[in-house]
Amino acid sequence: MTESEYTIQKIKNGTVIDHLPYLTHLWLVGKILKFHKLDEPVLIASKLKGENGYKGVIKVENKALTQDEYNKIAIIAPDATVNIIENYRVVDKKKVELPDVLEGIVKCANEGCITNNERWAKSKLNVLDRKPLELKCHYCEHTFGRDNVYIL
């Protein structure tokens, strides 16, 4: 049996997130989707052979993604695709896409920023570039890349 023959069990209804970076970012997706709060089965596969090297796949039963969740996944896995499953069939296929502005989704990487020091202040970051990711804080004008992204 070769690696490419590994398959993960199909889900009946829910969401399949495919083409995830295979190792370090999988747990982040788990954090974004709040696996610890889900009462539904979650299937996680890592290091599957994809068209462009290894990839990860996550399947969640009975869950549709919110817009915030799409945006967050787009930050850490810009190449991810999302399949919507109904009755074991793919009824919709979407590519995650980063919006131009991220509000309350990513923490400003500048510790001296007002959004990190004022109670109830919401972060607001403008997406300057997608590949590689470059964000600019609407408030403090600090720019930073993916290495300094902390997802709220």
Binding site: C113, I114, W120, A121, C137, H138, Y139, C140
Partner: protein, 311 residues
């Protein structure tokens, strides 16, 4: 001709202004300087400016207060802003909501980056940023431009050297941005670990502007129209011996100015420590005190424009 309407507008960041808008502010400042004492005194009668300084800055506060007073407006001072509210745990948002009901325009200095934009979004009253942490100090940049225009008779086609701590100095980043609207040649002089940040350099490269990096100030003095000096702040250095090494590398003395162009002016955002020796004050090249004084017409212009008293 484009109509400019600054009424109700916030003055938060130099990046919010187009070249035409900046020139409109400079033009208005010039007309402010031409006002007689009597004419000026009625302009902002009945208006109240709140000076909200969460971080002390006597120079900037006095300049704003003087600007408002000269135009007949009133100033309410929240000098102990830090003590009275922030320490008690009041949010900036709530402080602004309190101050907005007592004033027509809010001038704020704050130690956190981005505080000015945050305050501006909390209120419909115009907010003028008098410095927000390491981020912006737009009225300083405008008075720098005004000083350049006044001494050089133009803004286009000049060679400007910026000397000192260019990495952390917000005034030089903003001035570089402002002057990049023009065909400016930039000469950046600093120790390599305090050079201009990448994003500033990238901005100049994208605009195709001429710039060069230097370690020795003497390489550029004879060629420049403006020598913009800045302070090297001790707190920027992690190592005290590094500071001792750097601090004296960029000290300007009167003799060093021999052979400089006749129109050349030495500028500095002040306060200076020892980077400009008193011998420079004795030469015709020094301009920093006049530069600071130019803050008044600039701030008068911004107060009158944002309050909608002038267009």
């Amino acid at each position: 001709m484009t109509e400019h309407n600054f009424e109700g507008r916030d003055i938060v960041s130099i990046n919010d202004f187009s070249r035409e808008e900046l020139e409109h502010v400079l033009k208005t400042a010039k007309s402010m300087e031409a006002l007689t004492r009597k004419e000026g005194h009625t302009f902002l009668e009945g208006y109240v400016m709140a000076a909200l300084f969460f971080e002390p800055s006597t120079r900037t506060r006095m300049s704003f207060e003087s600007s408002m007073n000269k135009l007949g407006g009133k100033v309410i001072n929240v000098t102990d802003a830090k003590v009275s509210s922030a320490v008690k745990g009041e949010t900036l948002y709530d402080t602004i909501k309190m101050v907005e009901s007592y004033s027509d325009v809010i001038v704020m200095r704050h130690n956190k980056d981005g505080a000015a934009r945050f305050a501006a979004e909390a209120t419909g009253k115009p907010v003028i940023n008098a410095g927000d942490g390491k981020n912006q100090h737009p009225t300083q940049t405008m008075l720098d431009m005004y000083s350049i225009q006044k001494t050089q008779g133009k803004l286009d086609g000049l060679t400007i050297a910026m000397v000192g701590d260019l990495k952390y100095g917000r005034t030089v980043h903003s001035l570089a941005t402002a002057m990049s609207h023009y065909n400016t040649k930039f000469r950046f002089v600093s120790p390599s670990f305090l050079q201009m940040p990448d994003y500033s350099i990238k901005e100049l490269e994208e605009k195709g502007l001429d710039y060069s990096l230097h370690k020795d100030m003497n390489e550029v003095i004879k060629d420049v129209d403006v020598l913009y000096m800045t302070r090297v702040q001790k707190e920027r250095f992690s190592d005290a011996s590094e500071y001792e090494k750097a601090k004296d590398m960029y000290i300007l003395t009167g003799n060093m100015l021999e052979g400089a162009k006749g129109n050349m002016k030495v500028m500095h955002p002040l306060p200076r420590v020892n980077e400009i020796q008193p011998s420079v004050d004795q030469t015709a090249y020094h301009y920093y005190f006049d530069q600071a004084a130019n803050g008044v017409p600039i701030r008068q212009a911004l107060l009158a424009l944002t309050l909608g008293v002038m267009r």
